[in-house]
């Protein structure tokens, strides 16, 4: 249970960091930016960020959040690291969703004399919301299942108490699985516990993903345009 809670805290933290950043970046890329060097650079940057190995994120989290900013091994450091990790996923998904909003919606709003910003806020964003939501849920699924980034930044194998503040270490399911499977003294005897933990993790992650997929197919059918 502490491990499940820890995973939840980390995931929620990650999404609060990544969602606003990702959506705003996606809005800029689809609505404002003209094709040019800056946009090209941002796109390449996002792609490369998406390709950075998770263990490198972990080391970066260790070097930057834990050591340089002196957060220590904590929920905060882990959540920020995971947030950066899922940022590209969310930017990509939000961009797709924003592109899916028909151009006529924008034109209609602009023709009524509405400013560009209000058009985005009142017309484009609400229409793109289901897509953005799906993307974020997939991002959450990814964050919940990642192990390597939190190994150095947040996770403790065993803490008896639940975390009291965002500067405490937490237990996290994926890391728990790893430690149980590799480092126990009675590996054979604890197999049932290991399978149980894996099952909980898989159920959690696949459940999250499944929700996203169902929302998406439902929204596709309901689309008004």
């Amino acid at each position: 249970m502490p491990a499940i809670l820890g995973t939840l805290y980390l995931t929620i933290g990650a999404i609060t960091v990544a969602l606003p950043l990702g959506v705003v970046a996606a809005i800029y890329l689809t609505e404002y930016a003209k094709q040019g060097k800056i946009v090209r650079a941002i796109r390449v940057g996002v792609n490369c960020l998406a390709g950075v190995p998770s263990v490198v994120f972990g080391l970066f989290g260790l070097g930057f959040f834990v050591v340089f900013l002196n957060f220590g091994s904590s929920i905060l450091a882990g959540a920020l690291t995971l947030g950066i990790l899922i940022l590209p996923t969310i930017i990509g998904a939000s961009e797709e969703a924003l592109k899916g909003v028909p151009q006529t919606f924008r034109e209609a709003s602009l023709a009524l004399g509405v400013s560009k910003w209000l058009t985005i806020w009142k017309i484009v964003l609400p229409s793109a919301l289901p897509g953005i939501l799906t993307g974020s849920i997939l991002g959450i699924g990814r964050a919940a299942g990642e192990t390597a980034p939190i190994m150095f930044t947040a996770a403790a194998f065993f803490t008896a108490k639940l975390p009291g503040s965002i500067f405490d270490e937490v237990m996290a399911l994926p890391y728990h699985v790893y430690v149980l499977a590799t480092a126990g003294t009675h590996i054979e005897q604890t197999r049932p516990i290991q399978f149980g933990t894996v099952l909980v993790l898989v159920a959690l992650v696949l459940g999250i993903d499944l929700i996203a997929i169902i929302i998406r197919s439902y929204m596709r059918r309901k689309k008004r345009w």
């Binding site: 800029y28 404002y32 390709g51 050591v67 560009k116 390597a148 499977a181």
Partner: protein, 295 residues
């Protein structure tokens, strides 16, 4: 403040937020180098990369990551050998052959496969595949190159398949229709028309899949076996770079040579995946405008 000024301010605020991802990428580079560079006061770059011995805890320690690089490359190549045919063929099936109902189900399954946490796959490889390999081939250990490659391939298939599918989907319908009109069979159309037209997208998919495999940590940490030596057969254990970093970081004393060496290893890994990504980006950019109008 006029409306126009306000719009400009909003636009620039958005721009700044978009630049954050580049900024983070920069930060990653800066911090990797900040923690990794001090190693080269002790070891030369050449000894580090081509050194054959990785004994970071001995005294004097030796930091040669060549066996780790080889380990990474081997499991990546083998897993691509498995994942590329699987991924590309399933993409062809999904986008060209499958009836709509099967298509939806398959796409959902592949997406779920992509969402499976790597530690779970690693666990699967350790507990199920490893004992089976050991018993079937009568090996000292089931944690070896074959096992790691198979599991990594399972991870890379969804990446390869979904990006290839996008590429196949983007092939203009006129191409297929022209081919059919000339009397070509479905198979000929797929093999001679559709796949060649989608080739740039498919190669992007393959490269990104390989980048995923080379950077994947938990799987290789749990199933590759962890022997830091050059392997002699595909049933030997290896210790790819991510595994080494993840396994040893917890034990390496803060800011010691070992700690710096692990960061330096991460730089090598980072540069390799960065290269993969830039190549993929270049290919997809260069061959982007192959629509019906340009051919």
């Amino acid at each position: 403040m006029t409306r126009h000024q306000k719009e400009i301010i909003i636009k620039n605020v958005f721009l700044i937020f978009s630049l954050i991802s580049i900024f983070i990428l920069g930060l990653i580079v800066v911090f990797l180098f900040r923690e990794g560079i001090p190693l080269f006061k002790e070891v030369s770059l050449r000894d580090f990369i081509f050194g054959m011995e990785w004994y970071p805890t001995y005294s004097p320690p030796s930091y040669g990551i060549w066996p780790l690089i080889v380990g990474s490359l081997i499991v990546t190549v083998f897993s691509s050998l498995i994942a590329v045919p699987l991924g590309v063929l399933s993409a062809v099936y999904i986008s060209e052959i499958a009836p709509p109902a099967i298509k939806e189900v398959l796409k959902a399954i592949i997406e779920l496969l992509a969402g499976l946490p790597s530690v779970v796959l690693g666990f699967f490889g350790m507990v199920i595949v490893a004992p089976w390999l050991q018993a079937t081939f009568d090996l000292p250990t089931g944690l070896n190159i074959v096992n790691a490659s198979v599991i990594l391939a399972i991870m890379a298939v969804p990446t390869i398949s979904s990006i290839s599918e996008d590429a196949l989907y983007a092939v203009p319908n006129e191409f297929k229709e022209a081919s059919y009109a000339l009397g070509a069979t479905k198979f000929e159309t797929i093999a001679r028309i559709i796949i060649p037209s989608a080739l740039s997208g498919i190669s992007t998919a393959v490269i990104l899949g390989m980048a995923r495999a080379i950077g994947e940590t938990m799987v290789v940490l749990m199933v590759a076996g962890g022997a830091a030596a050059l392997p002699e057969s595909i049933f030997d254990s290896v210790r790819p770079m991510p595994a080494s970093i993840a396994a040893e970081m917890g034990e390496a004393p803060f800011r010691s040579g070992h700690y710096h060496a692990l960061f330096a290893t991460a730089i090598v890994l980072f540069l390799m995946t960065l290269a993969f990504n830039l190549i993929a980006d270049y290919i997809s950019q260069k061959f982007k405008e192959v629509g019906s109008a340009t051919l």
